[in-house]
């Protein structure tokens, strides 16, 4: 569904992504790991359509379409969901109103009528249960005054509401205690079905105890330097990123 080919991108003239190639097939979970500053979040931003990242080279194809030409909201309506590393607060806008607008925009895009108020509330109730989110959150303004953990759970809840084809979770695990981590991971596992895919961006291995990836990539200095199965995550946990760095430096010297 997603083919990234030799993607290069920069922010404010500084080159961040230096040639990334990656293919995600339906039903796959990809984990992208790497040290801070390696370009993980920039990759997520490019895929979601943030304008401050400038793509300088390469292509991204999503279900056969040129993703880079699509507006951010169109990417969303075509099924791309970004779970934000730092979810944004929107004071005064209730979660209900926010989600209703979003869900109905998605429906309009598919040629469906907007949901009735009661159907919508039922959908919210069901999804809240599914992801074990406190139902009080839904009555508050979008992320306003939420704790770090609540914000992340709220991202998973929104993902459940919008049922994306490709979900990109940008360090959703950072700042979570073990219970919240479990809730987030369970949410992902429950929402997983054979046709949708996930790109899970994480700094630590511990999330991957709960979400089992099919493929693990290591991003370092804007490039994918290693790709392997789920065992790579454990190896990284054990040896740290220095091991990868050394390996790369050796390769360069060789």
């Amino acid at each position: 569904m997603l083919i990234i080919n030799n993607l290069k991108a920069s922010i404010g003239g500084k080159s961040i992504l230096k040639g990334i190639s990656l293919e995600v097939k339906p039903g796959e979970i990809h984990a992208i790991m790497g040290p801070n500053g390696s370009g993980k979040s920039t990759l997520a931003a490019v895929l979601a359509g943030r304008e401050f990242v400038e793509v300088t080279e390469g292509t991204v194809t999503y279900f056969g379409k040129n993703l880079l030409e699509m507006a951010a909201e169109d990417r969303a309506k075509e099924g791309i969901f970004l779970g934000f590393q730092y979810p944004i607060e929107i004071p005064g806008v209730s979660m209900v109103n926010f989600m209703k607008t979003a869900v109905n925009e998605h429906r309009k895009h598919k040629g469906l009528d907007p949901l009735s108020a009661s159907d919508f509330l039922k959908l919210m109730r069901d999804k809240k249960e599914l992801v074990e989110i406190d139902s009080k959150l839904a009555n508050r303004s979008v992320n306003e005054g939420f704790s770090g953990g609540e914000k992340k759970k709220n991202e998973i809840f929104q993902m459940a509401m919008l049922d994306p084809k490709l979900a990109i979770l940008d360090e959703t695990d950072s700042g979570l205690d073990i219970d919240a981590l479990r809730i987030v991971a369970n949410g992902v596992n429950k929402l997983k079905h054979p046709d949708n895919s996930f790109i899970v961006i994480t700094h630590y291995q511990r999330l991957l105890d709960y979400i089992i990836p099919d493929v693990v990539h290591v991003l370092y200095d804007g490039r994918i330097v290693k790709t392997a199965g789920k065992e790579l995550a454990l190896e990284l946990e054990e040896k740290g990123y220095d091991w990868i760095k050394k390996e790369i430096e050796n390769n360069v010297e060789a």
Binding site: G12, A48, G49, R50, E51, F52, E54, A71, A72, E73, A76, K77, F81, L82, F84, P87, I88, E89, I90, P91, G92, V93, S94, N97, F98, M99, T101, A102, E105, H106, H109, S141, V142, Q158, L162
Partner: protein
């Protein structure tokens, strides 16, 4: 680069069109342009007024001649030539206006187009309307239904004829004819407006509303509203206003006076949508209005809610004089300035009685080249023991060519009072818009959502039927304005 993109989208979004800019070809009776003692007399004569009212007008006019237009507002107002304004314009009267069918069809069409049908059966359930075009009131709906409860709801002119004692007693008691330049001008030349009296112990069962429409060119609109809530009564009142799109500026200088007696409560809501001028700032209404309420009796309450999206220049401060002990004044405002609009608006809360309470919530929204100023005075007099005020003024900026300004004034002469003031200024963040985009919401809808969220506290104070309208209006006013 971020900034640039933001600006581009901003300038694209601020291009909403004014929906009410049409002009109706109605047969009008207009007096010649200009202002003089003769004109004042002519207006009074045309309206067939009693001597005492003519005296009031002449007294006001003579006083006005001694006054100068104030220069303290944070506004750039081009000079106004009072000899170039028509001070009275009325649709030609048909004789024996008994039912709606007797109203000029062109006039009826106008109000239909504005969504204000004059036929009671077609009207929003539970809302009585007084429809004012240019200088006169056309029709007041549900007059009879209300009369059964003793409620008087009619045009100001009718009130002068039918209830002269009430008018004499209360007119000018809250806004004296010497009050300020535009109030004095209004006192000299006011044409019509609404009058409302709620008798003792009556809860008005429906929303009362006045719909003001400027139609004629070169005409000023000077209406006067007087609202009296007798002891233990309650009324919720709404005013709406629109005008045709024209290249020249039009002057609107109104007065609203409210009196709340013991235990009475008045809610006064305004959705102001006068023509704001075009995108280059040409044309538009000058909205220079004096609105003031007197909480005269104990435990009385007056609450102002305003959604100000229109007018080229807005200059108004709906205020409360809290004279009765334990009385309460409230001011909730959303003021939008887009393109080249300017607003200097806020409130005055004057605490005179003991245990008086006031709340001020002001939300300014600026886009395009709009300039938005909040100006508020909280005054606590010596005997106002335990007075309490809370003021909150927030400014939201959309883009970097607009401005927000805050001028709070505090005069506290009683040490037992508690006065709080909070102010914030924020910009709609690119992050917030992107967050919405990422959920499938377009930039324009995102702005609507964020702005309405920002203004929600105030919109929630509006009567239900109008809250939805106000939300739409906010969105339209800012259409084309952010990213």
């Amino acid at each position: 680069m971020m900034e640039k993109d933001n600006d581009k989208i901003l300038s694209e979004v601020t291009t909403g069109e004014y929906k009410y800019g049409f002009y109706s070809n109605i047969e009008m009776d207009r007096i010649p342009k200009g202002l003089s003692e003769e004109v004042v007399r002519l207006i009074s004569f045309k309206k067939n007024e009693p001597e005492w009212l003519l005296d009031f007008r002449l007294k006001s006019y003579r006083h006005w001649l001694t006054m100068k237009m104030p220069t303290w507002p944070n506004l750039r107002i081009p000079p106004i030539n009072y000899q170039d304004i028509i001070f009275y314009a009325a649709p030609k009267e048909r004789k024996n206006l008994k039912s709606v069918d007797d109203i000029d069809p062109e006039l009826r069409k106008t109000f239909d187009k504005l969504g204000i049908p004059l036929e009671e059966q077609k009207h929003l359930a539970g809302v009585a309307v007084d429809a004012v075009i240019d200088s006169v009131s056309i029709k007041t709906t549900f007059k009879e239904t209300l009369a059964e409860m003793g409620i008087i709801f009619c045009s100001f002119s009718d009130a002068v004829k039918e209830y002269p004692d009430l008018v004499k007693r209360y007119m000018g008691s809250v806004v004296p004819y010497t009050d300020n330049f535009f109030a004095t001008l209004n006192s000299a030349v006011f044409s019509d407006g609404s009058f409302c009296y709620i008798p003792k112990g009556v809860r008005c069962p429906m929303e009362l509303s006045t719909y003001f429409r400027i139609n004629s060119a070169n005409t000023g609109q000077f209406e006067r509203t007087l609202l009296i809530a007798d002891e233990e009564s309650y009324v919720s009142y709404l005013e709406g206003c629109t005008a045709p799109s024209r290249d020249e500026n039009q002057l609107h200088a109104a007065i609203v006076e409210i009196v709340a007696e013991k235990n009475a409560e008045v809610k006064y809501s305004t959705v102001q949508n006068w023509y704001p001028g075009d995108k280059e700032g040409k044309g538009g209404v000058f909205n220079f209005v004096t609105k003031r309420g007197m909480c005269k009796g104990e435990n009385s309450k007056i609450s102002w809610t305003q959604i100000e999206t229109g007018s080229a220049i807005t200059w108004k401060y709906p205020s409360c004089i809290l004279r009765g002990d334990n009385s309460t004044g409230e001011f909730y405002s959303v003021a939008v300035t887009n393109n080249h609009q300017q607003a200097d608006t806020g409130t005055k809360m004057t605490h005179i009685g003991k245990n008086t309470k006031s709340t001020v919530v002001s939300k300014g929204i600026s886009a395009g080249y709009g300039q938005n100023s909040y100006r508020g005075l909280v005054k606590v007099l010596k005997n106002a023991t335990n007075a309490r005020n809370y003021s909150q003024c927030d400014s939201l900026l959309l883009g970097d060519k607009c401005g927000a300004h805050t001028f709070p004034y505090l005069e506290v002469d009683n040490s037992t009072s508690i006065v709080e003031h909070e102010a914030t200024t924020s910009k709609i963040g690119e992050d917030q818009i992107f967050y919405c985009n990422q959920r499938g919401i377009s930039t324009e809808d995102a702005i609507g959502l964020i702005v309405n969220g920002y203004a929600r506290e105030v919109i929630n104070k509006l009567p239900m039927e109008f809250a939805v309208e106000a939300q739409k209006l906010l969105q339209i006013s800012l259409e084309g304005s952010v990213g």
